[in-house]
Symmetry: C2
Subunit: 229 residues, 2 copies
């Protein structure tokens, strides 16, 4: 006896939002579509889920195939299930997002993608499908997360200046923060260790370097905080 | 030209976790399955997504059909996409959760459900499929949410005592809270309005009634807080 569901079914896809920080900007990884529909248009990396792979696996596979990016922690964001979001047919998409240190990841376009590149989240070309909305929701999740949990371990190099950390907050929150106030709040959280080192190869006066205290960082992920602007 | 995805596809379902608070306990709405697989076993209300309805609509429809519950705000929780989570075939399920004031919702079993009933989240029968895990994740989400945002508007009657509000926190967090400390923290948030009324029909000394200040409540949803235990 079979209990199979014998009706027409939606196709299932995954889409990946990979955020990276370069020196100054919050960026997102996009691919240029090599096939119809939306051929030539930029889009989030992603594709169809195979019937014999988990949805999580499909997300990692598509990201690797389309951009060459591997070894990132993809967290599920949301499932987009509107009826008409894809011109081909009924397609439901599970979106995932990740934070990476941009310089760690060499990207290369592959398979269905003509091209892969990082774009500033504040200067995005017109995207295929409902990907602009998916990207907006991912950015919103990031803005929410930064208020409750420490963020930056994945985005920053191991040692960084307070200016760079502030720039990360400003980029995610899309707002200018007061330097003195930011430093006071961040240092009060006791997440950071001041190092006995300053930055090198800079034209201006070299600033002190910090790193995250891993124990304090993980504890704050557990207990949370409220970072009030 | 067609761009249809011509490979075998997963079936897509929805599952609903509806939390309700009765006088003393956090409860969840379950249905007893009337069909195989897991016939007779308790499960989360849910079912297959039709190809011409959105996933959100499917969740509301299945909840209504299987339990009679309508007019609740279902928020998407997570999509469960492991390969072997359903013995029938490949099924991916999008889970939704909601908070309701239990006394507002008369439940009635319908269609594929033999029975529908509220169970204490701390006394759940063996569930069908991976529903125990889905329920656990929903409870975890609720525990996380209560730390960052006000909760209770949907779960409590319009006027309530501080004891009842404390009981809500204790039920969600599964821990005993110190009465004095809880009151101090909650009142400091300025979410509540003390009413010029006390509870009626009680054997013990009647306690003062409170209600949420809607403006303050909505503001706290926006700005968040950190409710440290």
């Amino acid at each position: 006896m079979s209990y199979t569901y014998e009706y027409p079914r939606a196709a299932l896809t995954v889409d990946c939002i990979v955020f990276g920080l370069d020196e100054d900007e919050l960026k997102v990884l996009l691919i240029q579509r090599g096939i119809e529909p939306f051929e030539g248009r930029w889009a989030l990396p992603g594709g169809f889920v195979q019937v014999d792979e988990s949805v999580d696996t499909a997300a990692r596979r598509e990201l690797r195939e389309e951009t060459g990016v591997t070894d990132v922690f993809l967290e599920q964001l949301y499932t987009f299930g509107a009826v008409d979001r894809d011109p081909r047919e009924r397609v439901v998409s599970v979106a995932y997002y990740a934070l990476v240190n941009l310089s760690d990841h060499r990207i290369q376009a592959d398979t269905d993608a003509r091209n892969a590149a990082w774009f500033s989240v504040y200067d995005i070309p017109e995207l295929a499908f409902d990907h602009a909305r998916i990207l907006e929701m991912a950015h919103e999740r990031l803005r929410g997360k930064i208020r409750y949990q420490p963020i930056g371990f994945e985005l920053l190099p191991p040692k960084f200046t307070l200016t760079r950390l502030q720039r990360l907050y400003e980029q995610i929150l899309d707002t200018k923060l007061d330097k003195r106030n930011f430093r006071k709040k961040i240092l009060k959280m006791e997440l950071l260790e001041a190092l006995d080192e300053v930055e090198t190869d800079v034209a201006h006066r070299a600033a002190q370097l910090y790193r995250f205290n891993a124990d304090a960082y993980n504890e704050k992920i557990r207990t949370g905080f409220n970072f009030e602007l």
